[in-house]
Assembly symmetry: C2
Homo-oligomer: 226 residues x 2
């Protein structure tokens, strides 16, 4: 569903240069749930942003399906992301002037698409927000905002979802619900999910775990739970 070939991302130059990604080769299979783990600063968010076309690589290539993202115009990249990619940001990035339900349907509203009403209802249901979906982000708890961010990524049934620490701010019960829901999106709808996590229990639910250190992939585990 998506892959990186020799992807490198360098910030700064000279002796303040940071090699956030260092010639990464990684492939994410359609219909699979992959977890990305690694120390703070190892390049996980950078990898997510580059794979989703939110940032450009300094070297190498990134593909969504068979499309090399560097061949796309700004406009076409925006359309590809809007129609095919769901993204859960580490800092949620919700629109402060819209309420939760408006935030959740925003990508589809922008696309002029109706989405699947039954699925949208189900997605909104799983946030467990009840009537709080009529509230704006600053009236919601941190974990509630995170659930809205997850729902927004799932609502449009994108081809692939990149989730940057989607359960970092919620209690374990809520985290388990979010994971169950994402897991169902994979098994029932063939969705592809790539998820950054610091939580080994979360990674254990994935089909595969990829380990990042200093911008390189250093290890991999297939089917981490016995």
């Amino acid at each position: 569903a998506a892959r990186a070939v020799g992807a490198t991302k360098i910030y700064g130059a000279g002796d303040t240069e940071v090699r956030a990604l260092d010639a990464i080769d990684v492939s994410f299979e359609q219909g699979r749930f992959t977890a990305i783990m690694g120390p703070s600063g190892s390049g996980k968010s950078t990898l997510m942003h580059c794979m989703a076309g939110l940032d450009t690589v300094t070297g190498g290539q990134v593909f969504i399906g068979d499309t090399d993202l560097s061949t796309l115009s700004e406009r076409d990249l925006t359309l590809l992301r809007r129609d095919h990619v769901g993204f859960v940001f580490q800092a949620f990035n919700l629109v402060p002037t819209l309420n939760a339900i408006e935030n959740i349907t925003l990508p589809m509203d922008l696309a002029g698409a109706d989405g699947d009403p039954a699925w949208i209802d189900e997605v909104v249901d799983t946030t467990g927000l009840g009537d709080r979906v009529k509230h704006r982000p600053n009236e919601l708890s941190g974990g509630q905002q995170q659930r809205v961010a997850v729902a927004r990524a799932l609502a449009g049934k994108p081809q692939i979802i990149f989730a940057d620490e989607p359960t970092g701010n919620v209690d374990s019960n809520t985290g388990a619900e979010i994971l169950d829901f994402m897991g169902r999106a994979v098994t029932e709808m063939g969705q592809t999910i790539v998820m950054v996590t610091h939580d080994a229990a979360v990674a254990a639910r994935a089909d595969r775990v990829v380990f990042l250190v200093d911008g390189k992939i250093v290890d991999e585990l297939a089917d981490p739970t016995p």
Copy 2:
């Protein structure tokens, strides 16, 4: 060091009313490390904000030391917070135009205080940021920003620190380092720390764990690790 007496916080009114805190009585002893746990939306961040004087209670009282926060003018409340209270926000809340080291020393710079240079160096060291302390928040990873937020709260050696999920965005090694450091602030400098966490392993390091559900304290554990 701080306590709440019958503290209630109500958002909204009528049938959209949310009782974020419901007549809470809780006391935080000087020189102790208390963890606060509870489901998403149970009132943890609200309790932290009210205890630290960042928000007002609708009913009941909040004390820092012997001072009832409702008796203070806006100005005196600001001074009390600046000189005596450290706060780690769930969403970091760093100043985007200042670099990491400037963010860390900001409370002291605003107070016109020099702080303790040896302690400040040590605090900056424990962030493990190295030369990245010269970078601004948007050039740092999520976990790096969180470490800056923690360092900022500790740098001025405040009387009491309220930390809202200070390790939610970092890997377990970094989380353990942050905890060690905060633990040392308690044992070596008699600091009082009140920390919200979703992580049982983190709560296990505390002297006491308080459980919140629907704005009420429902349980307590003293010395949770055998």
